[in-house]
Point group: C2
Chain length 151, copies 2
């Protein structure tokens, strides 16, 4: 029990980020969190794009794995933009996110829905349907970036 | 079609990281990738720890959601340590990862397995079982950090 408690404590200390028990995490942590989420989305979505654009051979298993990861990560954006996280570290998130929240949230919901549909299409295996859904998902990225992400 | 292609291109350009079509991504990108994965694991595992240690009220739905995210993210470590990514940006990953690879891989497999078991325990709802599995999962973090992560 002592050993397991020690292991637990060490693991928690070693964690790269920690959720703060007393109140909300500070803005710099939140900004780092969301940048990590979007970085991983970009990593995987880029891998999908390489296959769609035939820069790499189509690999159905890899496509499905990456599409599922994008869908999983799209859900993790839910913690990325709490009130007060508009400043606190370098960020490309525009202030309009917090002043036009309903529209921003609707656009994020669009992305999550289309990302889930992309994972489902990937599992279905029809390349034309997959490519169409990839483009539709990309459109939801662009719709949000155009208004809410600094260039 | 043109609009959708434009949206697609813009989205890909906007991606925070890109997988490189020609050969492997450069080491600094890989290092950023793995730091993002582990940062998100820490974010969620810290949230679990706060509940286990009763620093926050138990929230079964949140616990399950975070445990599932840890399990999903544990799978994403698979791309984090390719050969050649031992240097290229600031990293806490020790060189022994690449010189003692079979042991490192086994320890990562331990983590993935126990993280999946933690998500399953969370869905099961038995708090004693969940807490025991949380500690077991934390032990797999520590086992790997002790040998392969710089303090």
């Amino acid at each position: 029990m002592t050993a397991s408690r020690t292991a637990l404590a060490a693991c928690l200390l070693a964690a790269a980020s920690a959720v703060y028990a007393q109140g909300a995490p500070p803005p710099d942590r939140v900004i780092g969190y969301r940048q990590s989420v979007f970085g991983l989305i970009g990593w995987n979505f880029g891998g999908l794009g390489d296959m769609v654009r035939e820069r790499r051979p189509w690999d159905a298993a890899e496509f499905t794995r990456r599409a599922e990861r994008v869908a999983q990560l799209s859900q993790m954006t839910d913690e990325g933009f709490p009130p007060g996280s508009d400043t606190g570290a370098a960020t490309d998130a525009k202030p309009e996110i917090w002043t036009n929240r309903a529209d921003f949230d609707a656009k994020m919901d669009d992305f999550r829905r289309e990302a889930a549909a992309l994972a489902a299409a990937a599992r279905g295996g029809d390349q034309d349907a997959i490519k169409a859904q990839f483009s539709k998902t990309g459109g939801t990225c662009k719709a949000c970036h155009d208004e809410y992400k600094a260039d």
